[in-house]
């Protein structure tokens, strides 16, 4: 590693691996280091041994759980939507070829003590059991408005400037009641709390449109939810981008401690020391765990991984997302539950993996905060609860050439990850990230 590079990347989380791949393709000489002996950092998918190492102090794995390598348990539960930005990155980099996506069977929302299927189309909305809460005609008008809205065509704006108008005013415009607002803001736009209502409406209308488009494409293939998921776990996403980087001559060193970020007296980055070796580079990109003094804490996320011997009661599906909106459970933030199974190849047959996540609101026992979700999930064979701090960088890195990513937040999709990738790319290169088909396909068909 005693060499000179253009960029050193620390941590093999998804954000870091996407940047590694893109920069290597652009011809940058990349050295990519992780202190762990596995890929993915905080967004790895772990096998049982790794899971027990991390959460149970390396206690022996109960034999009845089955084979180690049949498990790919995501540390951070998320699903993708077919219309989201990360999909474009997968397509344009060809990393998609390493992955096989499957549909998530159902998307549900918790309402008055029960769970209901989220209607994913206007038609489905009118026949759904949620229909009582859903103001049919207005909702249909709103959906048409979203799908026809074009930024540059004021005729499609119905007099609403989404960049300036608050979502509250848009709700007023369509005469939506509290229930419908909850449905749009939480089940479609996937906001975690109600702060969005006073923010510009575009921040809600854009994700709601993404949801509708994804749902429409899901309907084309008879899928019951707009969500998709890569077989063998989300950990394959960073692995795929790492391979892309390696194909373009990126050097990977796992299981390598980072002992020092070497800087000049004015704070400018010069290299990374591991043991008695120093790798030099112009720039460094890394996750917050490599720069503890240069990040600030913005919140805490509770996550609970549950191994089940049966699906979540009343879902009747191999996979599901369940949203528990804050208003329904007397909290400020929603609770998300994801459930996966053998069908997504993340556990053996006869097991289901449910993950519960929410933003922590108290300093108390995390299990108490998610008690309603635990009740919904039903009997649990093994549970692993953790509380993670969420960090953001103190500086943008343009002075020091130290570029730090954000922690993975509590949202259930990848938009914030993708935004961080775009933001970091701009800070690192000075250019906007433009996705183009790779000019030369390095992995050729013979």
């Amino acid at each position: 590693m005693d060499e000179e590079y253009d960029v050193i990347i620390l941590g093999t989380g998804l954000t870091e691996c996407i940047l590694s791949g893109i920069l290597a393709v652009e011809g940058k000489k990349v050295l990519h280091i992780d202190r762990n002996d596995f890929y993915g950092g905080e967004c790895a998918s772990l096998n049982l041994t790794q899971l027990y190492q991390r959460f149970r102090n390396s206690a022996p794995v109960p034999a009845e759980l089955g084979r180690d390598r049949d498990y790919y348990i995501d540390l951070i539960p998320k699903f993708l939507m077919q219309d989201e930005g990360l999909i474009n990155v997968l397509v344009y980099t060809d990393v998609l070829r390493y992955l096989e996506f499957v549909a998530i069977a159902t998307s549900m929302v918790y309402c008055e003590g029960k769970i209901f299927k989220v209607p994913s189309t206007p038609t489905e909305g009118l026949t759904s059991s949620l229909v009582g809460f859903f103001q049919k005609n207005n909702a249909r008008k709103f959906i048409d408005f979203l799908l026809n809205w074009k930024k540059d065509d004021p005729k499609t704006h119905q007099g609403l400037d989404l960049e300036k108008t608050s979502m509250n005013e848009v709700y007023k415009h369509f005469s939506f009641n509290e229930d419908t607002q909850e449905f749009i803001g939480h089940a479609m736009a996937l906001h975690l709390d109600d702060k969005y209502k006073n923010r510009p409406a575009i921040e809600t209308c854009r994700p709601a449109t993404m949801y509708l488009r994804s749902a429409a494409r899901a309907l084309d293939r008879n899928a019951g939810s707009p969500y998709i998921y890569p077989q063998f776990g989300l950990g394959d996403l960073p692995q795929g981008f790492a391979r892309l980087s390696a194909v373009y001559a990126g050097t990977f060193m796992l299981n390598t401690p980072v002992d020092e970020i070497v800087r000049e007296s004015d704070g400018k980055f010069t290299g990374v020391r591991s043991g008695d070796q120093v790798a030099k580079a112009k720039q460094v990109i890394g996750d917050p765990s490599y720069f503890p003094k240069h990040v600030r804490k913005t919140g805490r996320v509770i996550r609970a991984i549950c191994i089940l011997r049966q699906p979540i009661p009343n879902t009747a599906a191999d996979s599901a997302q369940i949203i528990m909106p804050q208003r329904q459970i007397g909290r400020e933030h929603d609770i998300y539950i994801t459930c996966l199974s053998h069908e997504q190849k993340v556990c053996p047959q006869g097991r289901w993996i449910a993950s519960i996540s929410t933003i922590a609101e108290t300093a108390g026992e995390p299990k108490d905060e998610i008690a309603q979700a635990l009740k919904l999930v039903g009997p649990i064979e093994q549970i692993f609860v953790s509380v993670s701090d969420i960090y953001e960088p103190l500086e943008d890195g343009t002075e020091s050439n130290v570029f730090i990513s954000r922690s993975y937040d509590a949202t259930s999709h990848f938009e914030t990850v993708y935004n961080d990738v775009k933001d970091l790319y701009k800070r690192v290169t000075g250019n906007e990230l433009t996705l183009q088909k790779r000019p030369v396909n390095a992995e050729q068909q013979a």
Binding site: R213, R243, Y248, A249, E343, A446
Partner: protein, 218 residues
């Protein structure tokens, strides 16, 4: 070097369309033993003596006739250099039906490394994987430090296929891949009908079409 048959030839002989089996094959072995060169020789019948490493042949596909009515479509994955610091991802091994572990007959150390790759394979990929051991660079046999017997008796003790090859001259390269393909159980092809159907996110990009365009509006 022309023992490979096109699918059309096979088809016309048997009068029926041959069945195609798709198998993933991974290469392993220390850096600079000639993994990529073996693939390039096999897939494109080329050899570049001065090629330093990786960029180029990290993933190729090639068809190999199995018998008069079956063809193996080999998806061959190269390490892309990730073996250098033991940084291969689990994704690399997953669903591999076969592996070729390569060493350099002029570098005894690379033979030792090959043995540990075989252990790693059994751990990561399970016992069903078909493994071939390839002692490469027979064109440099005047500098040989690993005898043919050492290689073959180790391979025999573990039930591995064994070939001594030269990516430079082409010796045994065709045979290596073709014998390996024949030894893979046809049931090793990943089942297509189990589980939910794959979601085709971007058909054009997936099929390597140059006109790939995301139809996402964002």
């Amino acid at each position: 070097m022309s023992s490979s048959q096109s699918p059309e030839t096979v088809a016309s002989r048997s009068g029926a369309k041959p069945k195609t089996f798709t198998f993933k094959v991974v290469l392993l072995g220390e850096s600079a033993v000639g993994k990529s060169s073996l693939v390039t020789r096999f897939a494109r019948n080329q050899f570049d003596q001065y090629k330093e490493s990786t960029i180029g042949a990290a993933f190729v596909t090639k068809e190999v006739p199995l018998d008069s009515n079956a063809i193996a479509n080999l998806h061959i994955w190269d390490t892309a250099g990730q073996e250098r610091y033991k940084s291969l991802a689990p994704m690399y091994y997953r669903n591999a039906a076969a592996a070729i572990v390569v060493y350099d007959i002029t570098q005894a150390e690379s033979f030792g490394k090959a043995k540990s790759w075989v252990q790693e394979l059994k751990r990561q990929a399970g016992s069903a994987i078909v493994i071939a051991l390839a002692g490469n660079k027979t064109d440099l046999s005047n500098r040989r430090t690993v005898s043919r017997e050492e290689g073959s008796s180790y391979a025999e003790s573990l039930g591995l296929l064994f070939f001594e090859t030269s990516a430079q001259s082409g010796e045994n390269v065709e045979e290596l891949f073709s014998e390996l393909a024949k030894k893979i159980p046809r049931s090793a092809e990943p089942a297509r009908n189990s589980g939910p159907p794959a979601v085709n996110i971007a058909p054009s990009a997936n099929s390597n079409n140059k006109n790939a365009q995301g139809d996402c509006a964002c």
